[in-house]
């Protein structure tokens, strides 16, 4: 261990996994993001809250550039992921999406077996260079499913169609299938909104398990969830970042009037 590392351990300088600068985004003529500057700390769970249409999902979706599927999206500014601008023209979309995994609002496992779901992205990226999980396919499947606390439930039915699982299990599977390609960032777009309270609890528990290994950015409508399950919190309103603070600070002593009003449920 050299001095620099020692120093870093003693006085941790925050490192940012996601760093956006002056990010503006338009859907056609509608501007959804205004000059968003956000620095998301590496290894933490950061939640994004705000009323519907405030741009939180849009921001999330522009971190692995899945927004661009829509075709009519225009983006200005930059987003650095692990110190590289993912909007640089040189950047390969496939590599961005390997590094930045995404979990959607509605669980969307592919209509193939559980096992094939887990191996899907591994197969895509295994030959493309870059770091992926090593080991036989069986080991990778077991490891990933163990990490999302699903192994014991499905180990005897790996050939089963993934779409037949319960929603909670599907959502866990959707998280598990990202892990074999060793992403740095996991984006979650209201991952619990289709789940019942028990499923929600189970997924939140899982987030804490994954904490530290991955930088997790989670969009939620559920204030209580943001409070329980995140370390930092971002409040957005009308396409702008209003406040970004430690979660406990934001919920106890919000610095802005809008934040306070939203947290207390005066609008939403």
């Amino acid at each position: 261990m050299n001095n620099q590392q020692t120093a870093a351990l003693m006085h941790p300088i925050p490192r940012y996994a996601i760093d956006s600068r002056k990010l503006n985004l338009w859907y056609g003529t509608f501007q959804a993001l205004y000059d968003v500057d956000l620095s998301i700390r590496e290894g933490l769970i950061t939640s994004m809250i705000g009323p519907s249409g405030c741009g939180k999902s849009t921001f999330l979706r522009s971190v692995n550039r899945i927004n661009e599927r829509l075709g009519y999206v225009r983006i200005e500014g930059s987003v650095h992921v692990m110190n590289e601008n993912i909007y640089d023209p040189q950047v390969e979309l496939v590599q961005v999406r390997k590094q930045v995994g995404m979990v959607f609002q509605r669980p969307n496992p592919l209509p193939i077996s559980i096992r094939d779901n887990i191996l899907f992205s591994h197969r895509l990226h295994a030959k493309g260079g870059g770091e992926v999980a090593q080991g036989t396919p069986d080991e990778i499947v077991e490891q990933s499913l163990r990490q999302v606390l699903l192994w014991d439930k499905v180990k005897d039915q790996l050939k089963r169609k993934a779409t037949e699982l319960s929603l909670e299990e599907q959502q866990k599977l959707c998280i598990a299938r990202l892990l074999p390609v060793k992403p740095k960032v996991l984006l979650m777009d209201e991952p619990c909104s289709a789940l019942d309270p028990k499923g929600t609890e189970a997924v939140e528990e899982l987030l804490w398990e994954l904490r530290g290994q991955y930088t997790i950015l989670i969009v939620t409508h559920n204030m209580a969830q943001a409070r329980r399950a995140s370390e930092e919190c971002v409040f957005m309103l009308m396409g702008k970042v209003v406040e970004h603070a430690l979660t406990e600070e934001m919920f106890v002593t919000p610095k802005h009037r809008e934040t306070a009003d939203y947290i207390e449920g005066r609008y939403g």
């Binding site: 692995n64 899945i66 599927r69 075709g71 979309l93 496939v94 590599q95 961005v96 999406r97 390997k98 995994g101 995404m102 959607f104 509605r106 969307n108 496992p109 592919l110 209509p111 193939i112 899907f120 992205s121 895509l124 990226h125 959707c174 299938r177 990202l178 390609v181």
Partner: protein, 316 residues
């Protein structure tokens, strides 16, 4: 409406205030009438199919029970129904003709229509897509005699020139023509099947870094495979039943083809060409209807299995 209604209305007049619950206005009758009409229309499709089947069977069944030798009918290639002394009714060569033309047509149509469907459903957008869909439907509406004409007048000399063969009316000619005829409907069905794959599957795969082709190849095609197979089977059914274009493009010679440059004759074309000259009720006439029964059964089975396969996806 029996006594209870009367009792009710009786009470209503007594009190002068209760609602008139059993009153029927014009809308009620219109509704009933439409329901009956729609029911009759729905049932009539079944009646027509049964009626046609009954008619075809009635005309052909006499031969099947009285004179038909199943082995001769299905297993010999000799077809000379107008021979006065010893007419022969072997449809093996006709079946080989139909099968070879349909088979070649599928070789032409499957890659074509699958490619077209993938382009329309997955790549084209906005106006391009709409224009292509209209064009494909237009293509499906071209009358078969026009296709036959193309085979006779355009393909025939081309094939003679390209392959240096004496006659250009052959399996290849008819196969290409039939393939082009079947492609539009197969494209439409395949496109529907691809569109039916939920977009979140594509989104999921893309978010994991799959390229567009990987999304299609690894996610969309497997998810749509039943619909695609159903489309192919419907194309086969179309090829099997097609008459006019095949009559014009095959050369209409009774022959088990040895190569794609041989002329053949199809089951359907035989009926079309010979029914006019056969004596009504005579043996030849009955044999042609027997072929009709056979065609009916085969296309029925093909279409039914196509339907069952397509239905399969909706459940899974």
């Amino acid at each position: 409406m029996g006594t209870s209604t009367q009792a009710l209305s009786g009470r209503a007049t007594d009190t002068q205030a209760a609602a008139d619950f059993d009153r029927r206005n014009l809308d009620w009758y219109v509704d009933k009438l439409i329901a009956v009409i729609v029911f009759v229309c729905g049932i009539s499709a079944i009646l027509f199919v049964l009626g046609i089947f009954f008619f075809v069977t009635k005309e052909g069944i006499g031969f099947v029970f009285e004179k038909m030798d199943f082995r001769e009918f299905f297993l010999t290639p000799y077809w000379s129904p107008s021979d006065a002394e010893d007419p022969e009714y072997g449809i093996l060569a006709l079946m080989a003709g139909t099968a070879s033309v349909t088979g070649l047509a599928m070789l032409v149509a499957v890659p074509f229509s699958l490619g077209a469907a993938i382009f329309i459903a997955e790549f084209a957008s906005g106006k391009t897509r709409e224009a292509l869909k209209v064009l494909v439907e237009l293509l499906a509406a071209i009358p078969s005699v026009v296709w036959g004409f193309i085979g006779l007048v355009i393909m025939n000399p081309l094939l003679i020139k390209w392959f240096d063969i004496p006659v250009g009316l052959c399996v290849l000619n008819a196969g290409i023509i039939l393939g082009l005829m079947a492609a539009p409907i197969m494209t439409s069905i395949a496109e529907d099947a691809l569109k039916a794959v939920p977009d979140r599957y594509r989104e999921a795969a893309e978010a994991m870094g799959a390229t567009r082709w990987q999304v299609i190849y690894k996610v969309v095609l497997p998810a749509a495979k039943n619909g695609l197979l159903g489309g192919v089977l419907l194309g086969v059914g179309r090829g099997f039943g097609e008459t006019m274009a095949v009559l014009m493009a095959t050369g209409h010679a009774v022959n088990i083809p040895g190569s794609i440059f041989d002329s053949v004759r199809a089951l359907t074309a035989t009926i079309a060409a010979e029914l006019g000259e056969a004596v009504v009720g005579g043996e030849h006439y009955q044999v042609l209807f027997t072929i009709g029964i056979f065609l009916f059964l085969v296309t029925f089975i093909i279409n039914l299995s196509a339907d069952l396969i397509v239905r399969g996806i909706r459940k899974g």
